[in-house]
């Protein structure tokens, strides 16, 4: 009985075990696998991250077929934060693709804006449109690939035709 009272008095004045999360920041340890950040200046557009991503949360859209200009798009609300893209990135040591040790803010009143999150997230303002915009982008990215492949094929045909005419002339 006495032991019990001592124990309860101790508990009254001891620190709480829980963290008051929404009011206090929740501490994340070093090396926490958080948001994927991208730096376009260092990117060599090898598409390795797009191919390895398990849920397909990274997409490159070809916006200009003639110059093969690509835009990086990332969906932090589809990402599973495994870090496979950072492992596979050839320029990861220089900081092209890095994993921050902070969480992405949940999709609440507004969409998180950051230049390092890719193009799509900076274009959307309404959080309800994220899912729709992403599914549209998936289709667009696939189509742009096909168009680019066709353009390349035509270029090759042209070159071949030119070479043949040169041969005939000479």
């Amino acid at each position: 009985m006495v032991k019990m009272f001592i124990e309860s008095f101790k508990n009254l004045f001891s620190k709480p075990e829980t963290v008051k999360y929404p009011f206090e920041p929740f501490p994340e340890p070093e090396g926490f696998r958080g948001t994927i950040l991208y730096n376009e200046e260092l990117c060599i557009f090898c598409d390795k991250c797009e191919n390895v991503c398990p849920p397909g949360a990274i997409l490159f859209e070809i916006v200009d077929i003639e110059t093969n200009k690509r835009e990086y798009n990332y969906n932090p609300y589809l990402c599973i934060y495994c870090g496979a893209c950072v492992d596979v990135c050839p320029k990861a040591d220089e900081g092209c693709l890095t994993q921050a040790n902070t969480r992405t803010k949940p999709l609440g009143e507004e969409v998180v804006k950051d230049k390092k999150l890719g193009y799509l997230m900076n274009r959307i303002t309404n959080p309800k449109e994220v899912e729709k915009a992403w599914s549209e982008l998936e289709i667009r990215a696939k189509e742009s690939r096909e168009k680019y492949a066709e353009y390349k094929k035509q270029q090759r045909m042209k070159k071949r035709a030119q070479a043949q005419t040169k041969k005939e002339n000479s």
Binding site: E17, P29, E30, G31, F32, R33, V52, P54, I80, Y81, C82, G83, A84, D87, N101
Partner: protein, 361 residues
């Protein structure tokens, strides 16, 4: 005698974290017959693994079968694919794998025990158990970068190293945890009211355990010494001095005690592994694509987990088959209910620590 009444238990039930349905035919509180349905969370993961994913990143899918056994599925898959590709992970990587696997087992067992205490009407013990579990979760977050999905396995090694400071931190925290676990172990062992609710409930004899092919802590609580960690050589368990923990009582109480003993033993294993952590690389490179078939048996927190892999020399595997421990424990669970009171149904189910996400996949 009263009339026959059918009482549904699930598919959504306050005591269960996952959907599973039991339909009990009862007569005056005594259960006379039971129907089980375990297929509520089927997601078609085995099919997705052989169609949408390449063999290099299919493990990200397989680890997401279940939160508690995520490291088991990663282990099962990677040990199999390493056999097919003929790679051997370095010693240091093996030790890091062992440490994470055992930490995962500790947090799973602590929560399972706490759940049994909760449904037996001992809420305070539940809080104590979950409070201790948080130490392990923090350790896992520190080493791997995530609380549940560790993703530390990779083909030919591990993705992250354990630094010296982290090793010291793990040791310090584990010694702290051991004191707390021993204190809670004392409660499970000696508490009178907890014993009333758990001792002698749902007894499994050694013969029954053998006959129904029971696995995991449930088998070990009946005196059946079966453990994939001792039987198969997939991680250096014999180097750190692994011993099988058994009891002979075979009831709900004994299952809890076996789990608690395993937690203490796992802490010892990790401490020994950290003291003897070999120097060297954590990753080796591999070549080629998987061809041929193989199987692996690894010990999940709930028992023996079986993996079958078949590759045909392409990037995508031909077959991935997973058989999880809960599936082998369902037949005996069905037998056990008959003759018990309905009020004991919750501790019986939770003493089996069922994992439905694994079972239905």
């Amino acid at each position: 005698m009263g009339n026959k009444i059918v009482v549904p238990f699930g598919s959504q039930h306050i005591a269960l974290p996952e959907p599973v349905s039991f339909l009990f035919d009862t007569k005056n509180e005594i259960i006379t017959n039971v129907k089980v349905d375990v297929g509520y969370v089927h997601r078609g993961i085995e099919k997705a693994a052989i169609t949408k994913f390449e063999f290099t990143n299919v493990s990200y899918l397989l680890t997401r079968i279940c939160g508690f056994c995520s490291i088991t599925h990663a282990g099962g898959y990677h040990h199999g694919i390493e056999k097919l590709l003929d790679v051997e992970a370095p010693k240091r990587a093996e030790y890091i794998r062992l440490i994470i696997t055992e930490l995962d087992r500790i947090h799973s067992h602590l929560l399972a025990n706490a759940h049994v205490a909760e449904v037996a009407g001992y809420e305070n013990l539940f809080m104590q158990g979950v409070k201790d579990r948080e130490i392990v979760m923090d350790l896992l977050e520190n080493i791997t970068g995530n609380r549940i999905q560790y993703d530390i396995y990779t083909i030919g090694g591990v993705r992250r190293d354990i630094s010296k400071e982290t090793a010291e931190y793990i040791k310090k925290q584990l010694l702290k945890l051991k004191d707390k676990v021993l204190k809670v172990y004392d409660f499970y062992d000696t508490d009178y009211t907890f014993g009333l609710k758990t001792k002698g409930i749902s007894y499994i004899s050694l013969d029954d355990a053998k006959k129904y092919n029971v696995v995991g802590p449930i088998a070990r609580a009946s005196g059946l010494a079966t453990d994939a960690r001792a039987e198969f050589d997939y991680l250096p368990y014999d180097e750190v001095g692994f011993e099988i923990q058994t009891r002979t009582e075979g009831d709900v109480w004994a299952r809890n005690i076996v789990r608690q003993m395993e937690v203490i033993h796992s802490i010892d294993l990790i401490l020994r592994a950290i003291d003897n952590l070999p120097e060297g690389d954590i990753k080796v490179k591999y070549k080629g694509r998987p061809k041929g078939e193989t199987f692996v048996r690894v010990e999940a927190p709930r028992g023996e987990c079986f993996y079958y892999l078949k590759g045909n020399g392409t990037k995508v595997l031909e077959r991935v088959r997973v058989r999880v421990p809960t599936y082998s424990n369902i037949p005996i669970l069905k037998e056990l209910f008959v003759g018990e009171k309905y009020s004991d149904a919750q501790p019986i189910v939770l003493s089996f620590d069922p994992c439905m996400s694994c079972t239905a996949r």
